[in-house]
């Protein structure tokens, strides 16, 4: 089994707003950056489960926009996780927390997820 959590997140979120791993490649708001820490679990025959704490940080200079984009990401991930077809059924995506903050006119809405990928 190959780890595909990052690819899945990009696939689900890339049409909502510019969506980057670790570092933004734009200075134009809004955009989102995500980080994750995958942990691999094995049987003696190979990998059977990968879990990760995922942090998606949505940035905007508009307080309403940051909430709208964050809500769209949450909705998209909920929809994806609820789809139990073979392709989607291998992910469990659970929202843990969603703190919001504003520093010097830039709003940040952080979505903290637990993601589990199984084979």
């Amino acid at each position: 089994m190959t780890e595909s959590i990052a690819d899945m997140l990009v696939s689900v979120c890339k049409d909502i707003l510019p969506f980057y791993l670790s570092e933004a490649e734009t200075e134009d708001y809004p955009y989102a950056v995500f980080e994750y820490t995958p942990q691999v679990f094995r049987t003696k025959d190979g990998v059977y489960k990968i879990t990760a704490d995922v942090y998606i940080r949505v940035y905007s200079n508009d307080g309403d926009e940051v909430e709208t984009k964050a809500a769209a990401i949450m909705s998209a991930l909920d929809t994806f996780a609820a789809d139990t077809t073979d392709n989607n059924g291998k992910y469990i995506i659970a929202l843990q927390a969603s703190p919001e903050s504003c520093v010097e006119g830039v709003w940040q809405y952080e979505l903290q997820y637990f993601v589990k990928q199984t084979s």
Binding site: F41, R42, T43, K44, D45, Y48, K49, I92, K116
Partner: protein
Amino acid sequence: MATSRVEGYNVSLTIGSKTLLGRTQEDLNISAVTKTSITKDDNGVQQESVVRHDVTFKVSALMSLDSETTHTKLDRDDVIALALATGSSAVVAVQYLCTGGDTYGGSAIITGYSESTAADPDTDSTISLDLKITGTFAKVTGGNG
């Protein structure tokens, strides 16, 4: 002489020629059973001698079911059937293999089986199997050493 560290996935216990499906851990324990004796010639110092060995295994695995008709591994239902066997059916042939090392074999009985299941989706359901060698546990084939 070169040395090599053995990775755990290169060690396996086969039960009736099959390993457990989803196995995560296989533990071997060999305990010497000793006899204590003392004669007047021992000058008050007890003597210990090994009379036999108790050889046990503990195998842990994810609780898994194999939907294939021909099972190449033992799934949860196979293991329960083995654990509930009685009489001569309860004796299984086992081999303990280590890639590059010696292979040991013998006959064993299943002395315990347990399952652990939880509601939390992040907690794996697991099974655990205890075996005890009956009779001899001896080298079957040699390895590189």
